[in-house]
Symmetry: C2
Subunit: 630 residues, 2 copies
């Protein structure tokens, strides 16, 4: 995405259906070491426990006990608080799949029992509309998040079922889903309506895939088609301003828009409906060409947590909700499965490292809801939020990360992400393939994939778009004479032997990135990237200069890269010579002045940049991504 | 302001009281010709009548008839709709002073009768809290605008009294003001409270000045002092986050903040309280150095119609409410009276031409509420708004404009603004001075002031800060050998004879203005100004290029200035050679890319710029103030 033209998105709409790639199950892959394994472990050992404590303390779990008649207390918190519990449960289920038992297993089992007990006889389940508000069910689909909460229940249930094989939560989910199917639909014998906050669409699609029940697919399709019909007010905030297939660009609340796109992509993957595929291609193309932060973050506008105008990408004032970064990953992942175009994997990786991960502190105890690209030092992470969508969303993303690494086609393993792991994959044709990845990625672009299976099949390895120099692919230490252009998957097909080793060499040079001139705040500025990582300056590393005054040379300059194992959990830092202007030089407190022809006096300085995902983990201070140039 | 350092604001706090300058009465000055006279006439002949029709059609006047028991209908519109009627009345009163009688007089008299009839026996007057809501008076000072509406009544009443000598509305105002004095105050026998929307403070000060009743000053002081005490919620939106004298910078809703500053300045002018003067100086200095658009517009943030962070000045996304521009004029005018520092007059003039006037269409029938500095062509003026604060605010500003031209000290006439007028001024010492101004300003910097009185006194003429070359002052055609630096008042003292003529030569060269580099959206860009006017490009004049691609040369270049009498009501346009880049040149639809060392291919083009105040009066199309450079 970064350094090659965005190709027109090719969604094959000539066939009647689908996704070419099949995701490898989350449970088939074990993160063994390195960057992501450390975060996976942090999630399991710290985040999930701390989040569970928050769910208890804030009354979110008690809301279920209350609805079940086990507790006499008022409903606690916001109307969509159930969803936080479900997202946590989804995360915990994936973690249990890898490490069953223990305290987490007990919490999950007890929680599922509480949830089941809160379900009404007819399958209805929403703790806000329990008891004294039972008569108000479905009365405000636009604002009250009933279908949104239902969707998160479905996703948690599918995760729990896939992770453990148990149907305890799946049964609860299906009872509610069946009630939705019985209640909402296009016919005169059904209610009309759709959710003000999309989510139930992709959740129903997952339920369809997990159960094979086509009515869930039909129900997802109904909810998608019901948008833009004026049923929920017609505002773009709710993606109700126009029918989905006619949307020219994403607008309104960013997380809602992206969840909707994810659901629509799931639907397209099953139906192959041309108009839907065209809409997805159009929306994706517009988003990545005019609406996306360099982080992969989306939704710049605080007002309405929303997409703005084209090229409206303020830095200090960025909203870029952590959940929108996650939703970008979710959508990109789904688009990637359609046809295996590496551009989706590039955006997915970009957002994972630079839009999702900054939402989490290194100690796993703090979260950003909003992700600015410039800070005056007054912005910090919080352990929890009243509206706590982001923390459990980060948790379920980390817990399911093993599932983002590989996809499968008939006799091919697609390798999307690089992280040490041990994978036991079953190709659609039935062949079992065991792979072991070893790499220091993202600090180093060398990746080794050991093949521990025998037989003829292909490995398709991703050459990231950020590779400026040609990548190299080696088999058992010998360079293969195949082209490996950036932004593609390189196929290596052969009859593999146990012990074969495929190596990638992805040269990681520091790139100076510039933004389209219509993105006004970045004019005359560059941002530094290395591999998939975006870098930033922090005040704590650069104490003697206002970060807004740091200016990079126009001509080429040396950047020294050093891995510092004890800094910020282990990061590669960048050091380089730059220049600073004395504070307020030539301005004398003015805001405007006639242009000066004389050059500004500058002083040399050494700057140190750290990965953007790691900012705000030390002494509070300013931060700057986009640096002046020239 | 533009082209000299902003001096620390010098407010003399060593004395116990005063404004050094006394405003010349609105009624003492008649606009005779030229730029502002045309707009004054447009106000009288078109705007006031059209606005009155809106006030009738939207039920705003009927609300008074309803409260008076003359009409059985529900209250119409927003809770603060009374204020629109009062602002219109204030405007109409000033116009009547110059041209009494006729249909306007009848409307004003009838309206005052309706207002008086709506007043309760105890003096209370607010049509929303009439009849069925009478018991809810003062129940929500934060949100419900009762004191705000009262303030606008007081201002209208003072204007009507000063303009006509009649006390019909002043009596109504005093009855309500006396009720406020009896109701609110610091003692245990009074209610505590202050208004969520400042306005009553400056209105009470004006009522004090008009009547000499010190209780109104005390009441204004109470309302100011009651802020920041947690009485109305403690949010900066309402300027309640900190006591006024401790505010480090303006924050929250811009119009509210600026109305409050205006009232505080009125109070300071009477009390000379050092802490108040220091706060005003601090807030003014911060605002002009870090928060103000080049237009003089204020409040960049849509969310909350608010001040943003320092240097947060987006162009396309500017809010810059027309009322905030007006409030800037009001505050600058009050600060100017304190000590005659020309920097306030510079901002006042800058905002009048570039922040207030763009709010009005050339035909007087359309208004902007929001004033962006860049548009994609989809933004247009509207004849009225549900929340219609801006239109009558423009009307009262134009109607009182004759009062902004001169101030008086003991034996000196201060000339702030240049516009053809005939003034009969009475100096505080008793001397009568008649002056006649002739000028083509703002198209030409030559101003002639004919003196039609005899005797020794001073004229202090303003040399605008925008004068880059030295200005010249001529007496009866002969240059005076006195310095006339930009951003000062030049004093010419002599024994004047009838027929003496003082001429100013204010060279008007086109200036390329750059913004402080922390104002990110303007990096590497310049805006064009000539005299007090800011210029912009419009698509209709520059059809063959995306305005965002127009690039000015780094080196000096010729700008041809031509007055076009039939264009946009008569404007000087600027023509110059520039360059354009082909659409999307080198970007191929990407949003980010590694920096390119090779130069972009550009093509030469001729650009035509028009005054910013005149934009959006022709075919809808894009507009751009800040242009790329180099």
């Amino acid at each position: 995405m970064i350094n090659k033209p965005i190709k027109p998105v090719v969604v094959d709409t000539s066939r009647s259906a689908y996704a070419r790639l099949k995701p490898a199950p989350v449970t088939a892959v074990t993160l063994t070491d390195g960057f992501w394994a450390a975060r996976y472990k942090l999630n399991r050992e710290t985040m999930l426990l701390a989040q569970y404590a928050q769910l208890e303390e804030t009354g979110r779990i008690n809301n279920f006990r209350r609805a079940a008649g086990k507790l006499d207390a008022p409903f606690a918190g916001l109307v969509f608080n159930d969803s936080d519990v479900y997202k946590w449960l989804e995360a915990a289920a994936w973690v249990l799949a890898a490490t069953p038992g223990g305290a987490l297993q007990q919490k999950v089992d007890a929680l599922i029992a509480d949830i089941a007990a809160a379900q009404c006889h007819d399958g209805y389940l929403n703790t806000y509309y329990a008891l004294e508000r039972a008569g108000e069910r479905w009365s405000n689909l636009r604002d009250q998040h009933e279908l949104y909460c239902a969707g998160h229940l479905f996703q948690a249930a599918v995760a729990h079922y896939r992770a453990t094989g148990a149907t305890s939560l799946l049964t609860v989910a299906q009872r509610l889903a069946d009630l939705l199917c019985a209640t909402f639909g296009p016919g005169a014998d059904h209610r009309q309506g759709t959710s003000g906050h999309p989510e139930v669409e992709m959740a129903l699609m997952e339920l369809y895939r997990a159960t094979g029940e086509a009515r869930y697919l039909k129900q997802a399709e109904y909810f998608l088609n019901a948008r833009g019909q004026g049923l929920i007010g017609g505002r773009d905030y709710h993606q109700d301003h126009v029918p989905f297939r006619q949307m020219p660009r994403l607008a309104g609340h960013a997380v809602r828009a992206l969840y909707l796109c994810s659901g629509a992509t799931d639907l397209y993957a099953e139906t192959g409906e041309p108009a839907l595929g065209e809409a997805l291609a159009r929306l994706w193309g517009h988003m990545t060409a005019r609406q996306m932060y360099l982080t992969g973050g989306l939704g710049p506008r605080h007002e309405g947590e929303a997409f703005g105008d084209d090229y409206e990408l303020p830095n200090a004032r960025a909203y870029a909700e952590t959940c929108a970064g996650i939703a970008n990953v979710m959508w990109a992942w789904r688009m990637l499965q359609l046809n295996g175009d590496a551009l989706y994997a590039d955006v997915m990786e970009q957002a994972l490292y630079n839009a999702v991960l900054p939402g989490l502190s290194l100690d796993g105890m703090g979260y950003f809801y909003v992700n600015p690209l410039q800070s005056d030092g007054t912005y910090h992470r919080a352990p929890w939020f009243v509206c706590a969508c982001c923390p459990p969303n980060v948790a379920r993303t980390l817990a399911s990360l093993p599932g983002y690494i590989y996809s499968l086609t008939e006799d091919t393993v697609w390798v999307h992400l690089y992280a040490p792991n041990d994978a036991m994959l079953t190709l659609p044709g039935g062949r079992e393939v065991r792979l072991v990845q070893r790499t220091r990625y993202p600090w180093d672009g060398n990746v080794t994939i050991d093949v521990l299976s025998v037989g003829e099949f292909s490995l398709r390895v991703r050459i990231p778009a950020w590779c400026q120099a040609d990548a190299a692919v080696l088999l058992n230490g010998e360079p293969l004479s195949i082209a490996a252009p950036a932004g593609t998957y390189v196929e290596v097909r052969r009859s593999w032997q146990v012990g074969d080793s495929l190596c990638l060499r992805l040269p990681m040079r520091v790139r100076q990135i510039e933004a389209h001139p219509y993105a006004l705040e970045n004019s005359g500025r560059v941002a530094l990237m290395r591999g998939p990582l975006l870098y930033c300056l922090e005040g704590v590393d650069n104490p003697d200069v206002d970060l807004r005054d740091v200016t990079l040379p126009l001509e080429e300059f040396a950047i020294e890269e050093t891995f510092m194992p004890t800094l910020l959990g282990g990061v590669s830092v960048l050091r380089f010579g730059a220049e600073g202007v004395p504070p307020d030089a030539g301005w004398s407190g003015r805001l405007y002045r006639p242009v000066q022809q004389r050059p500004v006096v500058r002083r040399p300085l050494m700057a140190l940049a750290v990965p953007y995902y790691a900012w705000a983990n030390r002494a509070p201070g300013p931060m700057q991504v986009w640096l002046r140039r020239g």
